[in-house]
């Protein structure tokens, strides 16, 4: 089975939307998801009834299933996807929606990641995240995802000689990008010294290695190129897209992800290589995970990401490799499942010339990768796509 499978010809990804993030909200997840719909409808110049497909990812919609939203919003879609895939959900929602449009099962699919955040909701989510977590992770210090990613980060540092300064460079560059992005919750400049002197959270992780949980939504529409053109919408085409779950099952520690398995086919289907990518949006729940993606997606060799970030400007206008150009989750915040949509929404804005913050000069192609769902000691889902400005 070819990882990149058949082409996505004829499909347009369009109308990137963000419902501004808030640290905490008394509102429910359905509010953020519904407001994303409400904002996309006039932006696309369509009616609510024109949306006949709905792909939603949310942790805090519970106890409601995604189908409940059709009643909340008085919609009758013919196609519905619930994507409990966390940080991989945005790329995968786009991929599934594109196939539905190609097959004729839906004409316009709204893809939305949205969550609310209340003071104790994060603890409740973590404590009950999975069976394996409940039995074999949470009782050991109850550190939440910080524990798991601290262990991965420590092993990565031991194995490849990466230092805290290397992770800091990535975080500082993203903060520079975030300063331009109006929806980022953290826009105050961050110096490398401030990064290094931050309080420890789960060693070797310190404060600025960890995302801030918050509320918000990110979304986009998938439709045919013909429809996007008739509506006069700027859009991106999907050159290739891959997803793989639980790759490298025998690795004792997650120092690589499914991207490494699928990389060659991802680029081959797109007809370009890493040097043909104008901006990269990786899933940055922790900086080490962005480093794994930079390596596994071929921007540098395995274990060489530390050297790469020492030598390569990562800001949107630095002339190197523009990376997480809205500031990423590390600066914008992690609005639950919306964190899995942040990268694809930003990549879509970049290649369609609609950046809300720093616009990468002449951006025509973006590589967006996703990573999601730690059930025990590693993230299971990996996804990646290469999108290009529609002609």
């Amino acid at each position: 089975m070819n990882a990149a499978s058949r082409s996505y010809d004829g499909v347009a990804v369009t109308v990137p939307m963000t419902i501004p993030y808030e640290r905490y909200s008394e509102r429910g997840a359905a509010w953020f998801i519904g407001r994303a719909l409400a904002e996309m409808i006039p932006a696309a110049g369509i009616a609510k009834a024109d949306i006949d497909g709905l792909a939603v990812s949310s942790f805090t919609l519970t106890p409601d299933p995604v189908v409940a939203l059709t009643e909340h919003f008085a919609m009758s879609p013919r196609w519905l996807e619930d994507l409990p895939l966390g940080g991989a959900s945005g790329v995968i929602a786009m991929r599934r929606a594109a196939r539905a449009v190609q097959a004729g099962d839906a004409e316009i699919v709204a893809c939305i990641g949205g969550d609310t955040c209340q003071p104790d909701s994060f603890r409740q989510l973590v404590a009950n995240f999975s069976r394996f977590s409940k039995d074999a992770v949470y009782p050991y210090g109850a550190g939440g995802p910080n524990s798991v990613f601290a262990l991965i980060t420590q092993r990565y540092m031991d194995e490849y000689g990466a230092t805290r300064e290397d992770f800091g460079r990535l975080c500082v560059a993203q903060r520079i990008n975030a300063a331009q992005f109006p929806h980022a919750l953290l826009r105050k400049p961050l110096s490398l010294d401030e990064y290094l002197n931050a309080r420890p959270i789960a060693e070797p992780l310190h404060l600025f290695d960890c995302v801030m949980p918050c509320a918000g939504a990110d979304s986009f529409l998938v439709m045919s190129v013909d429809r996007a053109r008739s509506l006069g919408l700027p859009y991106a085409s999907i050159l290739s897209a891959v997803e793989l779950h639980n790759a490298y099952v025998d690795d004792p520690v997650q120092l690589r992800g499914g991207w490494a398995v699928d990389r060659d086919q991802l680029y081959a289907a797109a007809g370009l290589g890493p040097d043909g990518i104008d901006c990269v949006e990786t899933y940055d729940d922790y900086p080490v995970i962005s480093m794994l993606q930079l390596e596994d997606l071929g921007f540098c060799g395995k274990g060489e990401a530390a050297q790469f970030v020492r030598e390569t400007p990562l800001t949107y206008d630095g002339g190197g490799l523009p990376h997480n150009t809205s500031g990423g989750q590390l600066s914008v915040g992690q609005a639950g499942s919306a964190g899995g949509f942040l990268g694809i929404v930003e990549g879509l804005r970049q290649v369609t010339g609609q950046a809300l913050g720093g616009q990468v000069p002449d951006a025509r192609t973006a590589l967006v990768s996703g990573f999601g769902m730690v059930i025990y000691d590693r993230g299971l889902g990996s996804a990646a796509t290469i999108i290009q400005q529609g002609k």
């Binding site: 069976r131 394996f132 039995d135 109850a142 262990l151 520690v253």
Partner: protein, 151 residues
């Protein structure tokens, strides 16, 4: 130090089975009766052959530390009151990777350890990594605190 809140006691039905064992019997994990695969975390079917015959069986507790982390924050009051608290991952010689509480004397990468069961302050079984060279600690049903102090 407050003793008001115990550490997290919630477990799944299969996870609770570990607390029904006697820690003094040493480390027992689920072993598949069909293909001998040792399982962790606890589950209902063998991860390899999907067989239903998993039996809690005494296994070799030896392993190697993969990584450790010292926590300075926790979502649970029990640990918040006892910070910093260190946990780690251990690759057991018999296969699985386990997350464990870990004695200060074996925090180093690739340290050789034995993984022992013990009852936490709420009476639920947890795993603790102790130095392989520790003279005692096996088969005595020590508390978590006693195991963490082993050198």
């Amino acid at each position: 130090m407050s003793d008001s809140a115990p550490p997290p006691q919630e477990r799944t039905s299969v996870g609770k089975q570990m607390s029904q064992l006697d820690p003094a019997d040493g480390l027992k994990l689920q072993v598949c009766q069909d293909c001998d695969t040792v399982q962790y975390p606890p589950r209902e079917l063998c991860k390899q052959c999907l067989g239903a015959g998993l039996v809690w069986t005494e296994i070799d507790p030896g392993g190697t530390v993969l990584a450790h982390t010292t926590l300075h924050t926790s979502l649970e009051p029990y640990f918040s009151e006892r910070l910093p608290w260190t946990v780690g991952t251990v690759k057991l010689d018999c296969g699985p990777v386990v997350m464990t509480h870990i004695a200060a004397s074996c925090h180093g990468r690739d340290a050789r350890v034995r993984v022992m069961p013990a009852r936490d302050d709420g009476g639920t079984a947890v795993l603790v990594a102790v130095p392989e060279s520790a003279a005692d600690g096996v088969g005595e049903g020590k508390t978590v605190a006693e195991l963490l102090a082993l050198e």
